[in-house]
């Protein structure tokens, strides 16, 4: 893992909302493969693109992007029960 890696939940948000990569790319005005590279963590977006992605999904930026890996869904619930 490189130090400047930015983690994101784009694929999760996209699948949850039933949006294809091509639709998201068209809405953001980027190449559809760019969405794939973002989801794979092979490209870190500019601040402008990151803000537009968060705006598209209607969530705060920190919901979509993080400098630390996102916890797995349900892991916090499991932790609280233990």
């Amino acid at each position: 893992m490189s130090d400047d890696e930015v983690f994101n939940r784009i694929s999760m948000l996209r699948v949850e909302r039933g949006v294809s990569r091509k639709d998201l790319a068209a809405a953001l005005g980027v190449h559809y493969q760019t969405i794939g590279y973002l989801e794979r963590g092979e490209y870190s977006p500019s601040l402008f693109l990151a803000l537009r992605i968060a705006e598209y999904f209607g969530v705060p930026m920190e919901i979509v992007f993080s400098l630390k890996p996102f916890p797995r869904l349900g892991s916090e619930v499991t932790h609280d029960r233990a």
Partner: protein
């Protein structure tokens, strides 16, 4: 040189089998072919340097350059499809990732051509000249040398882009 557009890339895509541009091995094999095509120009200039003017130099140059052009026409088609216009398309038609990739490719190509010119300078500097310090070089060799240098400058970004491109993400629409 005319700028590429998406329609031209799509037309090229229809004529190129996926195995050439869809896999890293295919793309890198294509780049090796392109480098070989480029080498024909450099070899032609060396042949002319030593053998021109002669029919051997002339026919060798025609044969090598012709083969190089035919091979590179194919290589160019594969690389513009593989890079999806990262090199060649107008900047206004690229997104920020593609622009960043283009800048990186051009920076590497600039370093490559700088090294090539440096190597050429060193070679010419150490070539033996006569007692009068005058070097006699066939004009065909100079013309081909310059042609090879300009061609290298023009196509090196394509070759570097083709070599670097990672496999595209799997399409999620089936």
């Amino acid at each position: 040189m005319t700028e590429l557009d998406q329609n031209r890339i799509e037309r090229a895509r229809r004529g190129v089998p996926l195995i050439w541009y869809g896999t890293r091995r295919g793309r890198q094999s294509t780049v090796v072919l392109g480098a070989a095509a480029l080498a024909t120009l450099w070899i032609s200039s060396i042949v002319c340097w030593f053998l021109a003017p002669s029919s051997v130099a002339m026919w060798t140059t025609f044969a090598l350059t012709g083969a190089g052009i035919i091979v590179y026409a194919w290589v160019f088609s594969v690389l513009i499809v593989a890079s999806d216009g990262v090199v060649g398309m107008a900047e206004t038609k690229l997104d920020e990732r593609q622009l960043a990739e283009r800048r990186h490719v051009y920076a590497l190509a600039h370093r490559g051509t700088a090294m090539m010119l440096l190597a050429a300078t060193v070679v010419v500097y150490f070539l033996p000249s006569g007692d009068d310090h005058v070097m006699r070089v066939p004009s065909a060799a100079i013309a081909l040398f310059l042609m090879a240098a300009v061609t290298t400058h023009l196509i090196l970004p394509h070759l570097i882009a083709g070599w670097r491109i990672p496999d595209p993400p799997v399409d999620d629409e089936g």
